[in-house]
């Protein structure tokens, strides 16, 4: 199989791009923008490649579990980091809504 190795390779490339973004961007919120989305997508590609390479039903179930968990918790962690950077900003809109 060549498809799973290509998926793993492109996932590692996305994570490398996210690390370059962390080093190059200027302020903490831009860095968070680089790490949250690009590294989540990279780890998604790596997980799909790994479970295609094993090709076993238990690995597929675990892959689905970990993908759902990562895509549930990555926005929550990003929200917590952003709230720790600017604790007061955006509170008014939340109260109005």
């Amino acid at each position: 199989m060549i498809l799973d190795e290509i998926l793993i390779f492109s996932g590692a490339a996305f994570i490398l791009i996210s690390a370059i973004g962390v080093l190059r961007f200027g302020d903490p919120l831009s860095r968070m923008h680089a790490t949250t989305k690009a590294s989540s997508f990279g780890i998604l590609l790596i997980i799909i490649g790994v479970c295609l390479s094993f090709d076993h039903w238990l690995v597929y179930v675990k892959a689905l579990l970990i993908i759902v968990f990562i895509y549930l918790t990555a926005p929550l962690a990003a929200h917590a980091i952003a709230r720790s950077i600017h604790p007061e900003e955006g509170k008014d809109q939340e109260k109005e809504a």
């Binding site: 390779f9 490339a13 490398l16 370059i20 790994v50 962690a77 980091i81």
Partner: protein, 91 residues
């Protein structure tokens, strides 16, 4: 032979992940702000997850998938705990 049927892509993925880990550690060591350090720590946990999964492909054992699940759980709890502590300290 361990690397029997491994083509070009798996060692290249290892090299990319290792370079990303080096860049994140450089950022972690150089940054003055603690918020930058939380961001770098979050990235390092993701890189470690990817590294362990690619290693599991290399040695052909699906056991390493469970390690990645546990790392993702602990990294989420750690990130939320540290940022909540910082938010409480600032207010």
């Amino acid at each position: 032979m361990l690397t029997d049927s491994v083509s070009f892509f798996i060692p290249a993925a290892f090299a990319f992940l290792l370079l990303a880990l080096t860049l994140a550690l450089i950022h972690l060591a150089r940054s003055r702000n603690i918020n930058d350090r939380i961001v770098a720590m979050d990235l390092i946990s993701t890189i470690t997850m990817g590294f362990i999964m690619v290693y599991g492909v290399l040695v052909k054992r699906s056991l390493y998938f469970d390690v990645a699940i546990v790392i993702s759980l602990i990294a989420f709890i750690g990130t939320v705990a540290v940022s909540t502590y910082l938010k409480q300290r600032q207010s």
